[in-house]
Structure formats: C-alpha cells, structure tokens
C-alpha cells in the first residue's frame, strides 16, 4: 500500500527555503551577532574572498590540496596494508587467530587518540597526519576484506588448488575478485573515516591544510571563515564518496553480470 500524498517536491523545497530563510532572517534581524553566526550570504562571500586572498599563508584551494594529498597518502597506505591482511585472515585460520585479539584492542582506541604518538613518531608535517588517517581508515579495510574472503566459495579455492595454482595466484584470481564488492564497500567507509581523522589531526597539531584554516578562523573569531572551511570539507568529503560510490556501482555491475 502506498498512501497518496501528492507530489513530494514542494515539501523538499519548503524544507530548504525554511532552513536558509530562518538562518538569514535570524542574522538580518540582528537576533544574533555575526560574530556568532554569519548569514549564508556572508559565508558565500567569505568563500570567494578566501579563494583570491591568502589566509593562514595560502589560498583556500591550496589548503584543500595539501589536505587532500595527505588524505591520499594515509588512505592508500591503509588500503595497501589492510586489504591484503584482511584477505589473508579470511584464507588462513592461524593468521586470523593471531591478529584478532590485537585487532580487537586496536579497534576500541579512537583514531584521534593516536595523534600524540603520531606527532612524536613522525612529526606534524606529513608523516604524523598520514599515520592518523591510517589508523582511522585501517579497520574497515581489514574487516571488509576479511568478510569478503570468507564469503568466497571454498570449492573455488579447492578447484584452483587442484589445478596447481599457488597461494599468490589464488589470492589474485580467486579471493580478490570474489571479495571485491565487500572490499570496495569497506574502502568507502574507510575513506569517510580517514578524511574525518585528517580534519581532527589538522585541528590538533598540524599547521597547514583545511583543518588549520578552521583553527585560525576560530582564534581570529571569524565564524564565517570557520563555516567556509566546514562547507569545503563537506564538499571534498562528498566528492570522495561520490567517486568511490561510482567505483562501487561499476564493480557491482560487473560482478553481478558474471
């Protein structure tokens, strides 16, 4: 049964109009000072300004670029180590038994709690942030690769073995393709967590990047700068998710078409 509500889009438009309308109205009416809450138009204006005038040393897109490169570093590292580890844990019972207790312990430590060690070990330039992203993104890579590998039909593995395939070929040609949808889903979760961990690291110790823009905006009491950075962070996160969603859809289509 579908209750007939009529067209739904007017509700959506109403929601958005109300949201921005109330926000703008509250500021315009002077109910809150713009040192507390800037209007949507001010945030837009600030965004355009920051693209053309350096803030905290760099232009807005340069900050975003340096954050994004760090993200790519930490995320790739997590994927390159985490996915094979997860696959192997799914394949070899002994490895699973060895890694599981350590992994369970690690999982309960909030990624941001690694910031002090990351900074002491690898500095606050590139190494430290990459380690924080890594700790944030690692767990879903491992878990999903493991689950994916467990779902692979053991008959397929045995068939490959009887045809003389070595462990490497089994991993590459049986486990990896079989687990791929699960792996890609894990990578999407990882990317989100990694991106958010990076922002945290930049808030706490790092002195460049989009997170640092927020810290500077906060200490300059410029909420419009802070909100510009929030907006940009959301946008980049959305972009990353969009790309991975696309990859996921492609993988799924190919996998199910087989």
């Amino acid at each position: 049964m579908r209750r007939d509500y009529g067209p739904l889009w007017p509700w959506s438009v109403a929601g958005l109009v109300l949201f921005f309308g109330i926000w703008q109205a509250v500021v315009s009416a002077g109910l809150v000072s713009n040192f507390v809450l800037p209007s949507p138009l001010e945030v837009l204006d600030r965004t355009i300004t920051l693209l053309g005038r350096p803030f905290a040393g760099y232009l807005l897109h340069e900050h975003v670029f340096s954050s994004f490169m760090r993200f790519l570093g930490g995320f790739s590292l997590a994927a390159v180590i985490g996915v094979p580890l997860g696959l192997m844990m799914g394949r070899f019972r002994l490895l699973e038994d060895i890694v599981t207790p350590l992994f369970e312990g690690y999982r309960y430590v909030a990624p941001l709690a690694w910031v002090p060690f990351a900074a002491l070990w690898f500095g606050t330039g590139i190494g430290g942030p990459i380690m924080v992203i890594f700790t944030g993104a690692f767990a879903p890579c491992v878990i999903n690769a493991y689950r994916g590998a467990r779902l692979v039909d053991t008959y397929l593995i045995e068939a490959a073995q009887t045809h003389g395939a070595g462990e490497f070929r089994i991993a590459k040609e049986v486990l990896l393709p079989g687990a791929l949808p699960s792996i890609v889903a894990g990578l999407r979760i990882s990317a989100g967590l990694g991106w958010q961990s990076l922002i945290g690291a930049e808030l706490i110790v790092v002195s460049s990047g989009i997170g640092y823009v927020m810290v500077q905006g906060q200490s300059n009491l410029s909420p419009s700068t802070v909100m510009t950075a929030m907006f940009v962070i959301g946008l980049v996160g959305l972009g990353i998710d969009f790309v991975l969603r696309f990859v996921e859809a492609r993988v799924r289509a190919k996998w199910e078409g087989k």
Partner: protein, 264 residues
C-alpha cells in the same frame, strides 16, 4: 571444538593462539624497551613506566584530576551528548521513515549537513560556547545524531508492508501499529544506529578534549603529549579504549534485553 565440557567453549584453538599472541607481544614490548632499550622512552614507554604512570594517575592524579575524576568527566559528556542525540534523532528518523512528506521536508537539509564530519564542528562549537562542557556536548550531539537518524529511518522504511497490512486488517490503530509493528521490526536497525552513534561520540569527545579542555581523558592525553610523557599517553589511550568498550558492551546488553522483550 564444541566439546560438552564447560571449558570446551573457552579453551579452543583460537583462544590458545590468541593468548600466545598477546603474551608474545607483551614479551616483545618488554624486550624492546626495558631489556635492550632499542626503543627509547621518548618513542614508547616500557611496561614498568606504563604501570607506574597508571598508578600515578589513579592515586595522585595528572592534568588536574585523578583517574576516576577524568574518566567520569569524559563519560558524563559522552552520556549527555549521546542521550540528547538519540532522544531527538530516533523519533526524527522514525517520523521520516513513517511519513514520506516528513522525509521530503527534512531530507534536503539533512543531506546538506551530513557530509560535514562531526569533528569539523569543533571550532564552531568553541566560537559559540568556548571550551566549556557545553561545546563538547554540542559536538558529541552532532556526531551521534546522524547515525541514529539514518539507521532509524532505514529500519522503519524497511518494515515489512505485509505485517503493517495484516495489523491494519485486524484493526490496529496508529499507536498500536507503531508500538507493536514498526518499533519491534525496526529495533535491530535502530540499535545498529545507536552503536555507531556511541562510537562516533567517543571519537569526537577525544578530539574535542584534545583541542582544548580543562578536565577529561583527552586532556590527560594532550597534557602528556606536551610533557612528552609517552607512558601517560599510553595510559590515557588504554583508559579511553576501556571506557569506550565498556559503554559499547553496556549498550549490547540493553539491546539483548530490549529485543528479547519485544519478541516474546
């Protein structure tokens, strides 16, 4: 593996390997730090330093409070943020799943705010509320809110239509429909959301306290970092992990009770 003795389930090959692994790791830790000193104390603490720091935090305190005070402060903030978030988030998600008009009304705004990671709210919260407890509760609220709304929404939206129809045919009104069909059917999904919310709450709390706090486990962590006291850093990390695990297990117990009660 499944012997009928009471120990049959505890002493399995997995658990033996697990115990050996942990023992080896601890031995290796001891060897690298205390025995040979390959890893210096400014990189990673030795087991003795770790224990000494733990005792110090528990008895005389560190960074403005003892272990109990710091832990209770953090637990209190997580509890405030988490409960506010689920008290608002679950009914909201429920309403969005129940009525498509409400979904259409709220979803665009939600989609707009959702991509912003909770941690990115910290500076704004500080501009608004300073380094007070309030700013941390606000950030935890934001972090815990999103998963509780999304999962409740998904759970309610995926309730078996046949069940709803059957209940209606037998004359169930809206309130009975909600309490006896929608809620029980959506409960597992709602609890998944709560678990994710709880996790997000801890992550965010740690970040917020690292950015600036007067008390709390994150404050212990950041003070230890400034003092380059690696032993205390490790103590803080372990206590945070245990506190997080404790609340997660508590929630799992609640889930077990609630779902059992619902299905019988």
């Amino acid at each position: 593996m499944d012997k009928r003795t009471p120990w049959g389930r505890v002493v399995t090959r997995s658990s033996i390997t697990g115990v050996i692994t942990v023992a080896v790791v601890i031995a290796l830790w001891f060897f690298l730090t205390s025995v040979t000193g390959i890893v210096g104390q400014y990189r990673f603490p030795s087991p003795q330093d770790f224990l000494a720091s733990f005792v110090r935090l528990a008895t005389e305190g560190y960074a403005g409070g003892t272990l109990i005070e710091q832990t209770l402060q953090s637990l209190w903030l997580v509890a405030c943020g988490f409960f506010t978030a689920i008290v608002i988030g679950v009914p909201l998600g429920f309403a969005m799943g129940y009525d498509r008009r409400i979904e259409a009304f709220l979803n665009p705004v939600f989609l707009l705010l959702r991509p912003i990671p909770p941690l990115a709210w910290i500076p704004l919260a500080i501009v608004w509320l300073g380094l007070s407890d309030g700013s941390k509760i606000l950030v935890i609220f934001v972090a815990a809110f999103v998963p509780s709304v999304i999962n409740t929404f998904t759970g309610v939206r995926n309730v078996d239509r046949t069940l709803v129809e059957a209940a209606k045919v037998h004359g169930a009104g809206t309130s009975r429909l909600i309490s006896e069909v929608y809620l029980p059917d959506a409960a597992p999904m709602i609890f998944t959301g709560l678990r994710l919310s709880l996790q997000a709450s801890w992550t965010t709390l740690v970040a917020a306290e690292l950015v600036g706090a007067f008390l709390g486990l994150g404050r212990v962590l950041s003070t230890a970092y400034r003092d380059i006291n690696t032993a205390m850093i490790l103590v803080a990390m372990v206590v945070i992990a245990i506190a997080g695990a404790f609340t997660t297990i508590l929630l799992a117990q609640v889930e077990k009770r609630v779902i059992k009660w619902r299905t019988t």
